[in-house]
């Protein structure tokens, strides 16, 4: 479904992503794990078109999307829940969801919002509230609901567990698994490698801009080097 082939991304003179290639197949949960600064978010932002690669290709459903402006990438069926959630803090919960459906016909919005409320009942309770008044967990749910409003085929999540209490992290990961079962392919970027690998079909380990290991979720959980570097022993 998604095929990233030899991308190189620079921040000015800094070579942040060095020839990264990976793929995500239809129906999978794939995770990119790695330490802070390894290039995980940079990779997602490049796929979304917010950053640019100097080489290679990014194929989504058979089409090269390198050079497609970010606001058009969404319409291809590729949504991103950005790092730090980035919900629109001064808009209401419902308005945030409407923005998520920006590329969809107006006739679909109501049904889409109803779907999101079914998955996240908390959001329905707070639909008229300004997003800035939500708790961190609720904002994460809103960010995910907002991304789902675009009816994505592939959902990219950037550090969904960041800053959340362990119980909320469990809940968010349960939701990710449910979404996947409902047919959404997932690309998950996480520092919480343990959690990410436990729900992922496959994973890639990113280190200073390069992929250094790959395998199934279980394989990587058992891998000595991965254990040592990312799983605390």
């Amino acid at each position: 479904m998604l095929k990233v082939n030899d991308i190189n991304v620079y921040y000015g003179a800094i070579h942040a992503i060095k020839g990264v290639s990976f793929e995500v197949n239809d129906g999978e949960i794939v995770t990119l794990i790695g330490a802070n600064g390894a290039g995980k978010s940079t990779t997602l932002q490049t796929i979304s078109g917010l950053l640019h690669t100097r080489t290679g290709s990014i194929e989504f459903m058979g089409k090269n999307i390198v050079g497609v402006p970010p606001h058009k990438v969404v319409a291809h069926g590729l949504a991103q829940v950005p790092e730090g959630r980035r919900v629109f803090l001064q808009m209401t919960v419902e308005e945030n969801l409407e923005m998520g459906a920006y590329t969809r016909p107006n006739s679909e919005i109501e049904a889409g919002i109803a779907d999101v409320y079914q998955r996240f009942p908390r959001l329905q309770e707070r639909r008229r509230q300004i997003a800035g008044t939500l708790s961190g967990g609720e904002q994460q749910m809103l960010a995910m609901g907002r991304a789902l409003m675009s009816k994505p085929k592939l959902l990219m999540l950037d550090e969904p567990s960041m800053g959340l209490a362990p119980i909320l992290v469990e809940q968010i990961f349960d939701i990710i698994r449910e979404l996947n079962r409902a047919g959404v392919t997932i690309l998950l970027v996480e520092q919480n490698a343990q959690m990410a690998l436990s729900i992922a079909h496959r994973g890639y380990v990113l280190e200073t801009g390069k992929i250094v290991a790959t395998g199934s979720g279980e394989e990587l959980l058992e891998d000595e080097a991965v254990k040592k570097a990312y799983l605390g022993g």
């Binding site: 319409a75 980035r86 808009m91 904002q139």
Partner: protein
């Protein structure tokens, strides 16, 4: 203190403030979305006033129903200013989207001088006498002790209508909401599929159309039209936008009205010469106490 005089000053202050508020909307909306100060905004007012002037004088000998010429003049001015605003943004500001804000600021000042000098070249610097769009009609109250001109009433009414329309637009329409989303977080807005460049164009279009309206109203009250006419109301409206809290639409209204009232009272009760200085002194004091302006938001972010 004479009560009737006081009322009279207050109403003129509100009327002048309404014009500042309409201009301030252009500054504040553009700042909210493009995060830039469009110092050429005042000169778009001047262009709008000239266009309206020429349409009205061109039609002066034609047999038209009353008010047809001023309405047509205003509409043509709005269309021309809308196009002008969008073109300025496309040619001068869009290429600088990633540039430091100082470069954009200098460019905006350059565009301002460009418009003033182009106007001088086209229309000379000798003043044109602008005829009020509603003539010299007056409303007389309290046995003639209080007279309010039709321009004053029209200005206040137009300001109210614009505010209501704009509030509805930003809160109820898809484009309006997209504008709010862009003003908060352009990156996240793009991830939603919002075309940020298009949203910025629409903002410039609306701001410039409003500038044309403000130009017509301002000239109806202060009829001497020259190529530099727009700069003073422009700079005062910018002050009003900062006063109310730049980026905030209600702030532009509040800042504009207060500025107009303070200026009119200062002129009436303190000193005509010092009125402008007093206005800016009040601004400085307000910014010392509330740096974000009266209704400005201090941004707090949850991580």
């Amino acid at each position: 203190m004479n009560v009737m005089n006081f009322l009279n000053y207050l109403i003129s202050g509100i009327s002048l403030g309404s014009i500042y508020a309409i201009i301030a909307l252009g500054y504040t909306m553009v700042y909210g979305i493009a995060k830039m100060l469009n110092f050429a905004h005042g000169d778009v007012i001047m262009v709008g006033a000239y266009i309206c002037f020429f349409v009205m004088s061109g039609l002066s000998s034609a047999a038209l129903p009353p008010f047809a010429a001023p309405i047509l003049g205003t509409l043509v001015a709005m269309v021309v200013c809308t196009v002008l605003g969008v073109v300025i943004e496309r040619l001068a500001y869009k290429p600088l989207r990633q540039a430091p804000s100082l470069a954009v600021l200098i460019t905006a000042i350059g565009v301002s001088y460009f418009l003033q000098n182009a106007a001088q070249l086209l229309w000379t610097s000798s003043p044109k006498y602008f005829t009020s769009v509603v003539g010299n009609a007056q409303l007389t109250l309290f046995d003639g002790r209080l007279t309010i001109s039709a321009v004053t009433l029209l200005t206040i009414a137009v300001c109210i209508i614009i505010m209501l329309a704009l509030t509805t637009f930003t809160n109820k329409t898809k484009m309006g909401k997209a504008m709010r989303a862009c003003s908060e977080d352009k990156g996240a807005a793009q991830l939603m599929g919002i075309d940020v460049n298009r949203t910025i164009s629409v903002t410039f279009a609306i701001g410039s159309a409003l500038a044309a309206v403000a130009g017509v109203l301002f000239m109806s009250a202060y009829p001497s039209l020259t190529p530099t006419t727009g700069s003073m109301p422009g700079i005062k409206a910018f002050t009003a936008a900062v006063f109310g809290g730049i980026g905030s639409i209600p702030g532009a209204l509040l800042g504009g009205l207060l500025l107009g009232i303070i200026e009119t009272f200062a002129r009436a009760y303190i000193s005509t010469e010092l009125s402008t200085a007093i206005v800016f002194a009040v601004l400085i004091v307000v910014l010392l106490v509330k740096p974000a302006g009266l209704l400005g938001k201090t941004v707090r972010e949850k991580v």
